[in-house]
């Protein structure tokens, strides 16, 4: 049966343009002149992008510049208007929200859609990899934000993706959980070596994790910064600090923005209704 275009549930079709077999084996993603427009507005406008197999790429860009749009096309839940987009056939995605089926226990969420024998064991193994063995039977509504996101990660891992797509997966987590998730992602990436495309708003996150950082602007990859420093990396590494400033400049943020802000604050006149001791504290 062919998919009817009026179906509200979008059909998971692969357009002739993104048949996996046209992809070179060493590439996980290849995009040529990709355009995605909503009405007259071109959100992606002639985008070119290659991601090598096993490469960790971070994608930065202002809010609304089309990062999620690109990722949705790569996942296969959205199609491009023109151009060619080819990607590895085994793909999995984790989004900002865990998107778990609340009516399925954690391990069943992980196993959902997997067509292999010994499903439960595979799901439990994947949950063990993200450190959630003991929560396998939990209902998603009882999981903390970080746990739910780890279940979503296990659900992606169990599919053994060649391309792992992450759309701000840590954005809703607290700072400490985020640091642990960074370590987890890196460990899993080093073990399984999928190509990773990580969308993030956090420049430090991109610098700590990625081999290559892309900046998306005007519907294209506007800048590309290789980031090959040895791992483990530390945010206070001067080389990373330099790249950080460069990236912030590319993103249109004033150089050393936090410093400017704090010095401006310090030079503010003390007004009558703010007691001096509180400012000192």
């Amino acid at each position: 049966m062919t998919t009817t275009p009026d179906f509200i549930v979008p059909a998971n079709t692969i357009t002739p343009a993104n048949q996996p077999d046209t992809l070179q084996p060493q590439l996980a993603v290849s995009a040529r002149n990709v355009v995605r427009q909503f009405g007259q507005r071109k959100v992606l406008d002639g985008l070119n992008l290659d991601i090598k197999a096993g490469e960790f790429v971070a994608l930065l860009g202002r809010s609304g510049c089309g990062k999620t749009t690109l990722l949705r096309s790569l996942v296969g839940i959205d199609q491009v208007s023109s151009g060619t987009l080819t990607m590895a056939p085994q793909r999995a995605a984790v989004f900002q929200e865990p998107r778990l089926m609340l009516w399925k226990r954690a391990w069943r969420n992980v196993a959902l859609g997997v067509r292999k024998p010994n499903l439960k064991q595979l799901a439990l193994d994947a949950l063990a990899e993200v450190g959630l063995s003991e929560r396998a039977e939990a209902w998603p509504a009882t999981l903390s934000g970080g746990e739910a996101q780890r279940v979503a990660l296990a659900r992606a891992l169990v599919r053994e993706p060649q391309l792992l797509l992450l759309d701000e997966p840590f954005a809703a987590l607290d700072a400490l959980t985020r640091i642990r998730m960074h370590q987890l992602i890196l460990a899993l990436w080093q073990k399984h070596k999928p190509a990773v495309l990580l969308v993030t708003h956090d420049v430090d996150e991109a610098l700590l994790l990625a081999d290559r950082i892309l900046v998306l602007a005007d519907g294209k990859v506007a800048a590309e910064i290789p980031n090959t420093a040895a791992r483990p990396r530390h945010a206070d590494d001067p080389a990373l600090q330099r790249k950080r400033r460069e990236l912030l400049g590319l993103l249109g943020v004033e150089e050393a923005a936090p410093f400017v802000a704090s010095s401006a604050e310090a030079s503010q006149p003390i007004t009558a209704h703010t007691p001096p001791e509180r400012v000192a504290a």
Binding site: T4, D6, F7, I8, V9, P10, N12, R72, V75, G76, I77, R91, A92, A93, F95, E97, R99, M101, L102, W103, K104, L112, G113, R115, W139, P140, A141, T142, R155, R159
Partner: protein, 276 residues
């Protein structure tokens, strides 16, 4: 300063519940007192002949009729027939309603084809269709089932349809990105997600099912609670009529308990159930 507040509050707060419990006891008794008095008056009026049995039977004779009907197996037999009728009608309306809700809920074309006519039919008072259904389906089992089905399909369809439409589209996208086929999407994502709304519909449908028995089983029936009422009327057996009325209301109570039981099991994943 703030410490003294709870101290002064303590004696008051320990005294208050005791007083409230007494009040509740009292109101609980008075709640039953008035109906009891009415029952006694009713009984006395019946015994003295003030209230003749063809108007309404005495409470004691209703109770003994009920016991007789249960003991003789008459009431269980008719009840069983009625239950089977509602079950068959519901099975039909749930199947049909689910299919229609899926068609309307999942595609725009389906919505145009299915939803508009159903929304129009919904406004018909379905019991007024009895004459038409008799002409169409005769006077056997068919019009009875058809009427129960027709009456119960709307709550099933409407609730399931709105349940399907209110499923988070992100979950459907997640299902697609996990490689689910369309039928897997329906069974693993769409129907379970719409289940809470469906159960609301089911509760209404059961209520309507009992209600339709009253009318349906007066159509040339030889069995069923509705038939019992009809024949009791012919013989002016007000005791049997009241027994049947009590059965109807018991069925209503049972329905609520049943649906709540289903909810507890099928919706165990819901945050509201998990917390309790």
């Amino acid at each position: 300063m703030s410490l003294s507040l709870p101290q002064t509050g303590l004696p008051n707060s320990s005294a208050a519940p005791r007083w409230r419990i007494q009040a509740r006891h009292f109101s609980g008794l008075s709640r039953f007192a008035s109906p009891l008095v009415l029952l006694v008056i009713w009984e006395v009026a019946s015994r003295t002949g003030l209230l003749p049995a063809h108007i309404i039977a005495a409470p004691t004779s209703i109770v003994s009729t009920f016991a007789d009907m249960v003991a003789s197996g008459e009431l269980p037999r008719h009840l069983w027939v009625s239950l089977a009728r509602v079950a068959k009608g519901l099975a039909l309306s749930i199947t049909l309603g689910t299919v229609l809700a899926l068609v309307a809920g999942l595609s725009r074309k389906g919505e145009l084809i299915v939803d508009a006519p159903l929304q129009m039919l919904r406004t018909l008072p379905f019991l007024a269709l009895v004459p038409l259904f008799i002409l169409w389906f005769g006077i056997g089992e068919a019009p009875k089932l058809a009427l129960i089905t027709f009456g119960t399909i709307f709550p099933v369809y409407l609730n399931l349809y709105s349940g399907i439409r209110s499923i988070d589209s992100k979950l459907i996208e997640a299902g697609i990105s996990l490689g689910l086929s369309r039928s897997e999407l329906i069974t693993h994502v769409i129907l379970p997600g719409a289940l809470p709304s469906f159960l609301v519909g089911l509760r209404y449908a059961l209520g309507i099912g009992w209600l339709s028995l009253v009318v349906v089983e007066q159509i040339n029936a030889t069995e069923g609670i509705g038939y019992l009422v009809g024949s009791a009327r012919d013989f002016m057996r007000t005791d049997i009529i009241v027994v049947c009325l009590l059965v109807y209301s018991l069925l209503g109570l049972l329905t609520d308990a049943l649906v709540r039981l289903i909810e507890r099991h099928a919706l165990a994943w819901r945050p509201s159930f998990l917390r309790s």
